[in-house]
Each structure stands twice: as C-alpha cells, then as structure tokens.
C-alpha cells in the first residue's frame, strides 16, 4: 500500500517517514515544497534497504498539486501546516491547504472514500483549557476551544484545521485519526516552547515555573503518529501525544542552562504573569494596539495555567516511548549547543 506524507521535508515529517519505514511501509509518497529536503529523506531511507520513496514537489496551496499528491493513495498522513508567519499565512498553509487536500481526496474517481484513512497531526492548542482552571487534567475528552478569537493565531489556525477535517469526515465518511501532540522537540527544532516562557529582548521571562511540560520528543511523536495512524481501532479517534516522563518547565530551563548555555532569565510566578497580562491587555486596549498584546489573561491561562496530561489512550494502542526523556533532552541540548557554537 502506498502511503502519503504531506510536509515530509519538515522537522516532524522526516521522522514520520523513518518510522513508517521501520514499521514496514516501504512505498511512500512525500510532498515537498523544497527539493533540497529530498536528500535528508533519502539518507534516512538507506537504513531500510531499497524502499520506494516518491517525491511529489509542489505547494499544497495549489489544488492541482493536491490532486497529484493524493492520486491513488488510501492512507494519508497530513503533517503540512503553517508554523510561523502572519495570521493570513498560517491560515493559508494550515486551513486552505487542508481544504484543498480534502477536496482532492473527495474528487478522486474509483477510490471509495470509506476505504481511505486520513491521519491529521493537530495540536494541544485546540483544547479549550481555560475554563478548566489550574491543575486540570488534559485528556481527549476535553472540549475544543470555544473562544478562538482569544487565542494566539497558531492555535486559531490549528483549531480551524481540525474542525475542517471533522466536517469533511462527517460528510464523506472516510476514516479519520487525529493526533494532538504537545510540545514537539528534538534536533532541528527550537529551544523553548512558550510554555517555558518568552524571550523578550535580552531576557528570558520564565512563566512556566513548576508546570509540567507536555514534551514529545520528535522520534517518539513520529512513532505515535504511525502507531495510531495505522491501528485498525483508531478510526474516528483523537489521541494526545506526549512522552511518559515529563519534566517541569523549570527543570527544562535548568537543564538547558547547564547543558547548552547560561541565559539571563527572570521567573514570573503565575499571579505576576496574570497581573502583567492584565496591564498589557489594558494598555493594548487603551492605546489601540500601540504595543502588541503578546500576553493576555486568556493566553496566560492557556499557556501557563498549569495542567496535568494523560497519554493513556495512546498507550492503549500499544505506543511506547522509544527514547527516554533524559536521553531525548541530552540529544536535543547537544544539537542546540552545536547550533549556538556555530552562530
């Protein structure tokens, strides 16, 4: 069976392709915007004999490129998404691209939709965590965000993307599996999630404190996507994706300082973060946006409210963490240290 991986050239995509190969899927079509990314995928595939990697170059904002990508495919891993840029770009790269892909799936002739499975990589950002209060456990039963306008633009775009997939699934009846990773990290990724804090000028404002970080090492995350995406019982289900032994934000920051480099950081307790958010929000409103409302009370509650997390549902499918967190963090920090030295 030929499998499609969109966004295969990305940070996560490369590992998903590797895990698919490890699970015996050796006929994979990879969509790539950047031709140079094919080389990394070919390198990864060398360890698995002579798999058939097909590269489908293009931009999924184009309906024609989407049609080419899904042609003859019955298992689709949709990873392509906007990660940065303006709100318009995030929506174009996450939501418009998804709609194009789903329309292309619908439009195929001779491919019954009921025999097609689509695996969406969504995000923790879609959960409506604010009304739950501090300390609440985030599992798959938590409703999706009901006030997207109050969230950051990345969460807004991921929320709309996932809603779109459920709408099309109800209409078309294909199998849909949704994975919601927490913070994906690893070599090639960034150093800090907002859940740890924000770098503002020369100072890192550490708001995460003792909150658990829902880290998902990129290899473990990719394994989860493949395990759930290919499991016969996963259709119509949502799975949280994070590792088992989660550090707190302050533990992560300390380890970073020890293993990568010393940075100047100021710890803001949650009440102080809320006060700061309240002041910024008020000034933003009064000044009609002269300073951006990068922190609002709502965003602060979503990012730093402090939650517990459960990946029990994912584990029930047989997923196991391949790389322990201590090893994953050490590998990531080694990469970050090398990057820092290069700069």
């Amino acid at each position: 069976m030929k499998v499609l991986v969109t966004g295969a050239g990305g940070f996560l995509g490369l590992h998903v392709v590797e895990r698919l190969l490890a699970h015996g899927y050796n006929d994979i079509r990879c969509t790539l915007r950047d031709r140079a990314k094919a080389e990394g995928l070919l390198d990864v595939s060398k360890a698995y004999g002579a798999p058939q990697l097909e590269f489908c170059y293009g931009n999924l904002r184009s309906k024609a490129d989407c049609a080419r990508a899904v042609d003859g495919i019955s298992l689709i891993f949709h990873l392509a998404a906007g990660l940065k840029g303006s709100a318009a770009e995030l929506f174009a790269d996450s939501v418009v691209v998804s709609r194009n892909l789903l329309e292309a799936v619908e439009a195929r002739e001779g491919m019954p939709l009921r025999n097609t499975r689509v695996v969406l990589v969504s995000s923790f950002g879609v959960y409506g965590v604010v009304p739950l209060g501090r300390g609440a456990q985030i599992d798959e039963q938590i409703p999706m965000e009901s006030h997207p306008e109050l969230r950051d633009t990345y969460s807004q775009s991921k929320l709309r993307q996932e809603q779109l997939f459920w709408d099309y699934q109800r209409k078309d009846g294909f199998e849909l599996v949704v994975l919601r990773p927490g913070v994906i990290y690893g070599p090639g990724g960034g150093a800090f999630s907002n859940r740890v804090g924000l770098q503002i000028g020369p100072t890192f404002f550490h708001m995460g404190g003792d909150n658990l970080l829902p880290l998902s090492y990129v290899v473990n995350c990719a394994e989860a996507i493949v395990v759930a995406g290919t499991h016969p019982d996963a259709s119509g289900q949502v799975y949280n994706v994070h590792d088992d032994d989660l550090p707190t934000a302050v533990e992560y920051l300390r380890a970073y300082k020890k293993q990568v480099k010393q940075i100047r950081s100021v710890r803001l307790p949650y009440f102080a973060t809320r006060m700061l958010a309240s002041s910024l929000e008020s000034y933003h409103r009064r000044s009609m946006g002269q300073l951006p409302a990068i922190i609002t009370r709502y965003k602060a509650a979503a990012a730093w409210g402090g939650n517990r997390f459960s990946n029990a549902k994912l584990q029930s499918l047989g997923w196991r963490q391949l790389v322990p967190t201590s090893e994953a963090m050490a590998t990531t920090f080694q990469y970050l240290r090398q990057q820092d030295t290069k700069q």
Binding site: R33, A36, N59, R61, S62, G85, S86, A87, A88, E89, F91, A92, V95, V96, R99, P148, E149, T153, Q156, S157, R160, R286, S287, M288, G289, Q290
Partner: protein, 370 residues
C-alpha cells in the same frame, strides 16, 4: 463661546474590504481607530481567508463574492487589498455600485491600467486614494511643511532609500511560495515596494517625464537558490528633471534595514528616517573656521533630542503605531469624501509614480514587456 466639533462628527461611512491577506490586518486595525466610520464586512474569493479575518477582528459579516457584498452591504468605501492583477476590474465594479475606492499599492500591473483606474473613478464621480501611508507619517508631514515654508529652498537633489528584509515576514512569504503573486508582477519584487520609494521623490521632482536610468542585480550570488526564478533584489535608479535630480535605492542586503529620505535644498538639507521617525536639518553654517566644524554636530544632536521628545509625546498620546500614517491618510480620505473635497493624494502623483515604475521595469525586466 464657540466649540469646535470633533473631526468627522455626524459622519458614518460604511467601509468594506476585499482581499484578506496579510496587509488586510493593517487596514482593519487602522479603520477601527477612526471613530466616524464602520467596517461592515470583509470579502475574499477564498472563504477561509475571509472567515479568519472576520473571526480575528470580530467583523460581523464576511463574503466570498464581492458582487454579493457590494449588493447587500452597500459600502461607501471599498478597500481593495487584493494583488494588483485584480485592481482594475475591482475598481470598476466598486465604482459601478457607487463606492469610493481605497487601493493598496502597487496600484496596477502597468501604467495603462493605472490610467484606466483613475479614469474609471473620475467618470463615476467617485474618489480614489492609494495607500502611500509613509508619506503621512508625522516626520514626512513635517518635511512637507519645511519645504513648503521655504526652509530648504529649492530641491537640488533627492535620495530615497528603502531597505527590505527577505528573511522578514513578507520576504519569507515570497521565498516559500514560487507561485506568489509578486513573482508574476512585471517588476517582480521591486513593483511591490517601488511606489513607496518614488512617491517620496515626485513632490520634489515636478517634471512629467524625467530622464530615468535603472539598473538591477542580485545582491548575493549565494542566495540565488533561495528565491525562485530570476528575482533581482538590488535596484538603483537615477532620475533627472529640469531642475532636480534624484536617486532611488532599493536594497535587500544593506543592514540595518533602512527607510529614509534625504532632500538637498538650495538653503538647507533635510534627512527623514522613517524607521526612527525623525526629521533633522543640516543647516548652512555661518560660523568661521574650526568653530564652524565644531558646532554642527551639537545642532544635529539637539535636533535628534527634539525629535526623540516629540516621539515620546506621540507614544504617550498613542500615535506611534507602525501604521500611524495610514490612519492619518484614511482619515483625510474619508473626510474628503464627506466634504467633497480633493482627496489627500492628487491623481497626477499616482499617475506619475506609475509611469516612472513602468519605465524602470522596462529597463530592468525588458523580457516582461514583450
């Protein structure tokens, strides 16, 4: 005692936007700061884009069909923030339904289209304004006052510099997408920014057809693969009029990314920094010898201090937003509609800038004209 009514009192213009890409955010933000107008709806051919803009800014209605929006909402002003390929047809459609038009730059693909846009607005007895917002920033307005009051004397030479960061938000959008509409413009990347460079020169260079010489090149050969196609990213233009000359620079590689204007006058020279929002004068020195060389730096320092304090004042009055000039321009345009006066930017200026751009692109991308 007589009281002066607030600007725009009694007005209630209905505004709509077609085109919900990145720049539409700035339009929405600035429109919402103007108390006497109301943003009634937004529209984009791609419904997801219209929906996201409406959701993020709590705009009550969104459309994916501009004809339907114009028919149902009957806006007084349509902001056109689509790529320039559609500006002419959308302007005609807007004017046909009685709308005034606020147009995002670049105005059109070619000068003949700009002429058609202006003709369509004039024939329909509507008003047109193009988003030349930096010219309505406080320092630009101060420069205009200095020039008009004769402080600079006559303009001898003008230098307009515009830096661009290809690694920035807008630049990355071009680099990521080889099908981005900017790559399909006759003047490619230059066409998307050249209005902002030339429209600062035209007030000082009054010739209808100045002599123009343009050269363009790729600033860093190592970056060739990063940007699709033959995207040139450095542009130098000289313009010679009967009495004034000018030099326009567009650079993707000069750092820091600057945006400034220098006007050399027969009496004094002025330097406007659009990033730092300052305007300083370099005065003719009357003091002799070494004293004459000692004093000017203190005068310049004093000018910068004065400008810094002015900016503190603007900040404290919440008039220091990135697009503050756009708010001023929009306010002036809306008032010109309400009072039926001349719009803030003369159509002749728009046409002259457009004609110059055509000339420049003909020289740097001759193949695009065939």
């Amino acid at each position: 005692m007589r009281t002066v009514p607030p600007v725009g009192e009694g007005m209630s213009l209905k505004i709509a936007i077609i085109g919900c890409g990145k720049i539409a955010d700035a339009h929405v933000e600035e429109i919402r700061k103007i108390p006497f107008v109301q943003l009634v709806a937004v529209c984009d051919l791609e419904p997801i884009m219209a929906e996201q803009l409406a959701m993020r800014f709590s705009v009550s209605r969104w459309y994916s069909d501009v004809a339907q929006m114009l028919d149902v909402e009957k806006p007084d002003v349509l902001h056109i923030t689509t790529p320039p390929q559609s500006h002419l047809s959308l302007t005609r459609q807007a004017v046909a339904t009685g709308c005034h038009v606020f147009l995002e730059k670049p105005v059109a693909l070619r000068h003949c289209d700009t002429e058609a846009i202006v003709a369509s607005v004039v024939a329909g007895r509507r008003k047109l304004c193009v988003n030349y917002w930096p010219n309505f920033e406080a320092p630009a307005l101060e420069l205009r006052r200095l020039f008009e009051s004769g402080v600079l004397g006559s303009a001898v030479h003008v230098e307009s510099f515009y830096g661009y960061d290809l690694a920035g938000e807008y630049g990355m959008a071009l680099k990521r997408d080889p099908n981005h509409w900017v790559h399909r413009l006759p003047g490619k990347l230059f066409q998307n920014v050249l209005d902002h460079i030339l429209n600062k020169i035209t007030p000082f260079l009054d010739d209808e057809q100045p002599l123009i010489r343009a050269i363009a090149y790729q600033g860093d050969a190592n970056r060739a693969d990063e940007v699709p196609g033959q995207l040139l990213d450095e542009l130098r233009v000289t313009l010679h009029g009967a009495h004034t000359s000018a030099y326009a620079t567009f650079s993707c590689h000069a750092r820091p990314v600057g945006h400034c204007l220098r006007v050399y006058g027969t009496k004094n020279t002025a330097h406007v920094d659009f990033m730092a929002r300052t305007v300083v004068l370099e005065r003719k020195q009357a003091l002799p010898s070494a004293i004459g060389r000692l004093v000017p730096s203190f005068l310049t320092a004093k000018d910068y201090m004065r400008q810094g304090m002015k900016n503190v004042g603007r900040f404290s009055r919440s008039q220091f937003h990135y697009f503050d000039g756009m708010r001023t321009l929009l306010t002036d345009f809306y008032l010109s509609i309400e009072r039926d006066t001349e719009p803030p930017i003369a159509y002749r200026e728009i046409l002259r800038v457009s004609a110059m751009m055509d000339d420049i692109f003909q020289q740097v991308y001759p193949e695009a004209r065939s």
